[in-house]
Symmetry: C2
Subunit: 687 residues, 2 copies
C-alpha cells in the first residue's frame, strides 16, 4: 500500500516536545529508577530486553494486535518452545522466563505448569511422588495444570462436585464428574497443552467422605497427546483477554488412577483404606502461601500501572489541542482536568511500587517468624495482603482505563497499547479471591482487633493494631489535641507535614471501623450486611498501609538525596487523593476529632496545587519507572515520541492493507459484497 513517506507531523514536533520535557528534570532519572525499582529488578529487565531484542522473529510483539486467537496461541507456543530450548541450553534460568513473560505482556501457554503445577507438587508430594511427578515436570517432560475451579463452583471450594473414590479391589482412585457443573473450567494450560493435572476432588474412602484433596492425573497420552479414555478435555473458548493461553475444561467419566497419585502432604490412604492425616501440620502455615501469592499480585499492580501511566503522560505531553489563537495548540497535559486525572495515577504508581519493597520486607519478617513457630504477624499479614491485593488491582485496572481515556480517540486503537493490556490485567480483580469478597477478610480483622482492644484482650501489636490502639487512646496519655493532630490547623499546615497526612489516613480507617463495629455490636448487624461498608473500610486501611510503607521506603534515602523533594510531592498527592476521594468520610468524624468544612475544602485546593507542581516533572518521572518500549508496545507511549509516524507504520501493516494478502482480501470483499451492492439493481431504496 502506497503512503507518502516524506510527510512529517505538524510543528511542534512530538519528539522535540518530549525532549524538552525531559530537560526539565529536577532529579537524576537513573538514580530514581534504582530507588523505585531496585537494582536487581533493573538487571533482570535489561537481561530480558536483550534476549527479546536478539530474537525478534520469536519475541517481537508488534504483530499481536492483528492476530486472531489461534495465531496468538501459536505465537505463544513458539515462544514457550524457544524459552525452554534456551533453558535447556543453560542460556536462561526459570527466573528469566518470568522476566521475559513480563516483558511480552501476555501469558504463554505453559504458564500454569510453572505457576501452579510445579509449586503444588513441590509442596505436597512425598519423596517418591517428587520423583514420579515433580522431576519430569521441572524438565518439561510432562506439562501440568492445577484443576480446581469447576463450571459451577469458584470461591466456595467446599462445594466442588468432582469425586475421587477409593477402589480397594484394584488399589485405585476412580475420578468422576457427576454433573455438568462439576466440569473443571477455566484451568490454565489445560485446554491444549497439559499432559497431567493436579485435580482437586472430594475424596471418598469406604463410602465415607474424607475431604477435598489433590490427585495427579495423567490426561493426555505422552505418545500422541490425545486425551486418555474417559477424559473429555478442551479449550473453554475466547475470553476478554488471556487469549494466548489455553484455559480449558475437563470432565471425567470414571477415570482410574493408582492410589499413589493422591498427594500425601495432608493425607494418606493405605492399601486397605485406612486414612491418616499427619499430626505435624499447622493449618495456619497454608495461610502463608496465600499471603505470598496475594503479596505478589499486589506488588505487581504498581508495575502494571507504570505501563499505563507512561503511555498517558508521554502522549498527553505531545498531543496538542485548543489553546490561545495564533500560538501552537496547548499540550493536553497542561489542562487542569487532564492533570487531575493523570498525575494522581503517577503518584499512586510510585506509592504502590514503593510500598511493595516494604511489604516484602514485612512478608519476609513474618515468614521468618513462622518458620520459628511464631504466628504473631500472620493475621495482620493476611488482612493486609487481602486488602492490598484487592485495592491495588482495582487501582491498577481502573487507572489503566483512565490512562486510555485521556489518550482520546487514539486510546481506543490497539496501537495505544492499553486495550489488550487492560483486558489482560482485568481478571486480577477476580484471581485469588474476588475483590468484593476479599474486603470482608480485611474488615473482619479490623473489627475483631478493635473489639479485642476495647475489651482489653491481648492483641498482637502491628502497624494496624498499633494505629487502632493509638486512636482508641488507652491508656489515655495524650490530650485530644495531641491525638487529633489536625485540630486547629489550616489545610496547608496539615499538608505540609507527611506525618499529619498519615495521622489523618490512620484515623480515617479507625473511625470507619469504629462506626461499623458499633453497628455490629450494638445493633447486631450481620457480616453479610456489613459487606457494603466493608468495601470502603478495607480501602481506607489499604490506603493507610500504602502511604505508611511508601513513607518508610522514602525514609531509606539519605536526608540530602536529590530524589526527596519530588518524592515528597508524590507522597502528598497520593495521600490527598485518598483523603479527597470521598470527603464525607472526613465530615463524618466525631466531635472531638472533627475536621471543619474549610479544612476539608482546603485539602482539595492543596491537592490541585501539588498536582500542578508534579506535572512539570511528569515525563522524567515516567522515564524513571523504566518501562521499555517492548513492554509498552504502544505508538502513543514510545520513548522517542514519534507517535504519528508509528501509528501510520502500524496501520500500513494491518493485514487488510498489506500488499499481497491484503490485496487478496480487498478483492474478495469487492467481488463478493461491495461490487454487487454498488452495481446491483436499484429498487425502491429511497428513504
Amino acid at each position: 500500500m502506497k503512503f507518502s513517506t516524506q510527510l512529517v507531523p505538524m510543528k511542534n514536533h512530538t519528539a522535540e516536545t518530549l525532549a524538552n520535557e525531559r530537560s526539565k528534570a529536577s532529579f537524576d532519572i537513573k538514580e530514581m529508577d534504582v530507588f523505585i525499582n531496585g537494582q536487581e529488578r533493573i538487571n533482570g529487565r535489561e537481561k530480558a530486553v536483550s534476549i527479546v531484542r536478539a530474537e525478534p522473529e520469536t519475541f517481537d510483539q508488534k504483530d499481536v494486535y492483528y492476530m486472531g486467537r489461534t495465531e496468538m496461541l501459536e505465537k505463544g507456543y513458539k515462544q514457550e518452545k524457544r524459552m525452554i530450548e534456551m533453558l535447556r541450553e543453560g542460556k536462561i534460568t526459570q527466573t528469566d522466563i518470568g522476566l521475559i513473560s513480563d516483558l511480552l505482556g501476555w501469558p504463554t501457554p505453559f504458564g500454569l505448569t510453572r505457576a501452579m503445577f510445579i509449586p503444588t507438587l513441590t509442596q505436597q508430594c512425598n519423596e517418591e511422588q517428587k520423583k514420579a511427578f515433580l522431576e519430569p515436570a521441572l524438565d518439561y517432560r510432562i506439562i501440568g495444570c492445577y484443576a480446581q475451579t469447576e463450571a459451577g463452583h469458584g470461591s466456595n471450594i467446599r462445594s466442588l462436585e468432582t469425586t475421587a473414590t477409593f477402589i480397594e479391589e484394584t488399589d485405585e482412585f476412580e475420578i468422576d464428574s457427576p454433573t455438568l457443573t462439576s466440569t473443571k473450567w477455566w484451568i490454565g494450560t489445560l485446554g491444549l497443552s497439559a499432559t497431567h493435572a493436579v485435580v482437586m476432588a472430594q475424596v471418598y474412602v469406604k463410602g465415607k467422605h474424607v475431604g477435598l484433596f489433590p490427585l495427579v492425573i495423567q490426561i493426555r497420552s505422552l505418545k500422541d497427546h490425545k486425551p486418555l479414555p474417559g477424559v473429555h478435555v478442551g479449550d473453554i473458548g475466547p475470553k476478554m483477554g488471556y487469549n494466548s493461553i489455553d484455559n480449558g475444561f475437563m470432565n471425567f467419566d470414571k477415570v482410574r488412577v493408582p492410589r499413589f497419585n493422591l498427594l500425601q502432604k495432608y493425607i494418606s490412604v493405605s492399601r486397605t483404606g485406612e486414612v491418616t492425616r499427619p499430626a505435624n501440620i499447622n493449618s495456619r502455615a497454608s495461610y502463608g502461601t496465600m499471603v505470598f501469592v496475594r503479596a505478589n499480585i499486589a506488588s505487581n499492580m504498581g508495575r502494571l500501572l507504570a505501563k499505563g501511566v507512561t503511555v498517558a503522560v508521554r502522549y498527553t505531553s505531545v498531543r496538542r489541542q485548543f489553546g490561545e489563537p495564533g500560538k501552537p495548540e496547548t499540550p493536553v497535559l497542561d489542562y487542569p482536568i487532564v492533570q487531575y486525572r493523570v498525575i494522581p495515577i503517577l503518584a499512586k504508581t510510585y506509592a504502590m511500587i514503593g510500598m511493595s519493597h516494604e511489604f516484602f520486607a514485612q512478608y519476609q519478617k513474618s515468614a521468618d517468624l513462622i518458620s520459628k513457630g511464631d504466628f504473631s504477624m500472620l493475621k495482620e499479614m493476611h488482612a493486609v495482603s487481602c486488602g492490598l491485593k484487592r485495592w491495588s488491582s482495582t487501582q491498577a485496572i481502573y487507572g489503566v482505563d483512565t490512562c486510555r481515556h485521556v489518550c482520546g480517540g487514539h486510546g481506543f486503537s490497539q496501537f495505544s497499547g492499553l486495550n489488550d493490556f487492560f483486558a489482560t490485567i482485568y481478571p486480577n480483580i477476580i484471581f485469588e479471591g474476588d475483590n468484593y469478597v476479599l474486603a470482608k477478610q480485611t474488615a473482619m480483622f479490623l473489627a475483631k482487633s478493635a473489639m479485642g482492644l476495647a475489651k482489653g484482650e491481648e492483641v498482637d501489636m502491628n502497624d494496624t493494631t498499633r494505629t487502632i490502639k493509638h486512636f482508641m487512646n488507652r491508656p489515655a496519655v495524650l490530650t485530644e489535641k495531641e491525638l487529633f493532630t489536625w485540630t486547629g490547623k489550616t489545610a496547608a499546615e496539615i499538608v505540609s507535614s507527611n506525618q499529619l497526612l498519615l495521622d489523618l489516613l490512620g484515623f480515617k480507617f479507625v473511625a470507619m471501623n469504629h462506626n461499623m463495629v458499633v453497628k455490629i455490636v450494638r445493633k447486631g448487624q450481620s457480616w453479610d450486611d456489613s459487606s457494603i461498608e466493608s468495601q470502603d473500610l478495607a480501602s481506607a486501611h489499604s490506603e493507610y498501609i500504602v502511604c505508611l510503607y511508601f513513607s518508610r521506603h522514602i525514609a531509606k534515602l539519605p536526608q540530602n538525596s536529590g530524589l526527596r523533594p519530588i518524592l515528597d510531592i508524590l507522597f502528598k498527592i497520593a495521600a490527598l487523593s485518598f483523603l479527597n476521594s470521598n470527603p464525607a468520610e472526613l465530615y463524618g468524624f466525631n466531635k472531638a476529632s472533627a475536621m471543619n468544612r474549610s479544612q476539608i475544602v482546603g485539602l482539595q485546593a492543596e491537592y490541585i496545587k501539588y498536582i500542578k507542581i508534579a506535572r512539570e516533572q511528569a515525563v522524567p518521572l515516567v522515564d524513571a519507572l523504566g518501562v521499555p518500549d517492548e513492554k509498552l508496545n504502544s505508538s502513543l507511549g514510545r520513548y522517542d515520541g514519534h507517535v504519528y509516524e508509528d501509528l501510520i507504520k502500524r496501520a500500513l501493516n494491518e493485514p487488510v492493507n498489506r500488499d499481497g494478502t491484503g490485496d487478496e482480501i480487498r478483492e474478495r470483499f469487492y467481488k463478493n459484497y461491495i461490487g454487487p451492492v454498488l452495481h446491483g439493481k436499484s429498487g425502491s431504496t429511497k428513504l
Copy 2:
C-alpha cells in the same frame, strides 16, 4: 470433540430457579414493556427479530466471538449486502436496517454512509448536488463517509490541516494533506468500503483562508474500487471494539475535484472566485443537529445498559455460592453486596429509558419552536443534551463493567456477552465530544444562568433555570422551611416523598453551581480551573434532569396502574444512588439548607432497604426490558436459564476444539511445539 451429553447441572436447576423468580412478579411484564419501551419500539424489535431468525446463515451472531478481524469484516459485509438486497426488494425499510443493526450488536461496514454521509448531503447540498451525490448514495450506487477527524486533530476542528485550494484556471479545488498529522483518521466506512467522502477542509480562495467547509470527493474507482490517483487510503487497523467496521485513514496528494463539489449550504464560490455566504443562515440552527445527535446517544445508553443488567440479574439469580450448611448454596443475588452493585443499575436503566421519552418530547417541542424562529429552548436543550450524553454514556459503560464483574469468572468469557459489548459501547465516552470536555458546556450554562438571575437579567425559563431561581428564592415568597423542604424531616420521611427527593437533587446542583460561581466571580477562577468541579456539577444536573423526566414519564400512568408501586421504588433507588454517591455534597450545604448527619447517614440505610425490596422483582423487571436472546448473545443471560448447557455448547464450538479444523490445529501445535518440548533433550533445567 467428545463430551458427555447426558450430564445435567447440579440442583437446583438454573432454569427452574429463573422460572421461580418469574412467578414472584408483582406486575404485568408485557404492560411494563409497553410503558418503558413504547409500543412502536416493541413492534420494531419484533420485526427485526423475525428477520434475523429467518436467516441465521447471515444474521446469527453466535460465531462472532471466535472471529479474527478479517472474518468479522467479511461477516459484516455479508450482512450489509443482504440488508440492501432486502431493501431493494422492498422487504425492509431504512428504519428496519437500524433496528437489525441494533439487534446484531455491532457496527456493519456501510454504517457511516447512512449515519453521516447521507445526512450531511441531505442538509448541505443544493438541488443539483442532491442529484449528483445524494440520490446515488440513497441507492447505494455510491458509498460514502464523513472525513473530518485527522490523526493530529479531534475536538478542535479549527486546527484541521487538510486544505482545499481554489484553482481558478481549471475551475477546481485542489485537496492536499500537507503533513502526516493532517491525514484523515478514524473515518468509519472509509478503510475498505467508501467510494466517496465528504471531506472537511480549510478552504482557500485567491490566497485567502475562507474557513472550514465540506467537499465531496470521489476516492475510489466505481469500476474496480481501486483508490484514485493521489488518494492514499487504508484501514487504521485493530481497535478495542468496532472491529467489524473499517475505520480508515486517507491522505491527499494534491487531488483535484470540480468546484461543484463544495457543498453549498453555508458557502458558495463563483467561477471567478467570489465567495458568498447565504444571508438567511442562523448559526444557532446547527446547534439543533448537535442536540439531536447527543439526544440520540443519551437515549440509547439506557437501552444498552438494559442488556448488561439483564445478563447480570439473570445470572446472579441462578449462580449459587456459599450459604448455610446442608442447604443448596445461596443465589449470589441474595447477598447484600451483590444487590448493592446490581439493583441500582437496574433502577438507573429504568430511569434512563424512562427519561428518554420525556427528553424527546422536549426536543420535539424545541425543534418546533426553532422552526418558528423561537430559540428560547435551545440553550437549555444544548446544555441538557451535552450533560445527558456525557452522564448517560459513563453510566452505561461502567454499569456494563459492573454487570460483568458481578458475573465472576464467567463474566470474563466472551460467552458472557459483555466483553465485546463493553468494548463496542466504550467509544461513546468520546463520540460527539469527550465526556470531560462536554461537562464544561453544561457547567457554563448553569453558571451563566445563575449569574444572570443574580443580576436580575431576563433569563429564559425552563426546568433548569426555574430550579435555580426557585432556590435563589427571588422574590422571597417562601420561608426557609418551605424552600428547604427536607429541614426537620427524618431520612425515612424524606424518602417517602418523591417530590422531596427531587427537591434535594435540584438543590444539590444549585448549591454546587453556587459554590463554583462564587469562585469564578469573587476569586476570578478561570473556566479551565473550573473544569474539575464542572464534572460533578454537570453530573448533579444530569441526575436531577433524569429523575425529573423519569417522574414525568411515570406520571403518564393512571393513578391506579399496577406498575406504579415498583416504578416508585425504582425511582427512589435511582434518586438515592445519586444522593449517596458523594455524600460530601450534602454535608456541604450551607446553614439555612443544611442536612444533618443522621439525615445523611439515614439516606444510605433507606437506600439499602429499597434495594432489598426491588431485588424480589429483579428478574421480572429485566424481562420487561425486552432484550431478546439474539441481542444478549450470552450464555449467562439466556431467557431460559440454561447457562451451563450453553457454556459447554459454545466451548465445544471453539475453533481449536472442532472436529476437522480443530484436529488440524491441535496436531500442528503438538508436532511443532508441544511434542518437541516434551520429547526434547533434557539439559540443566532443574530449578
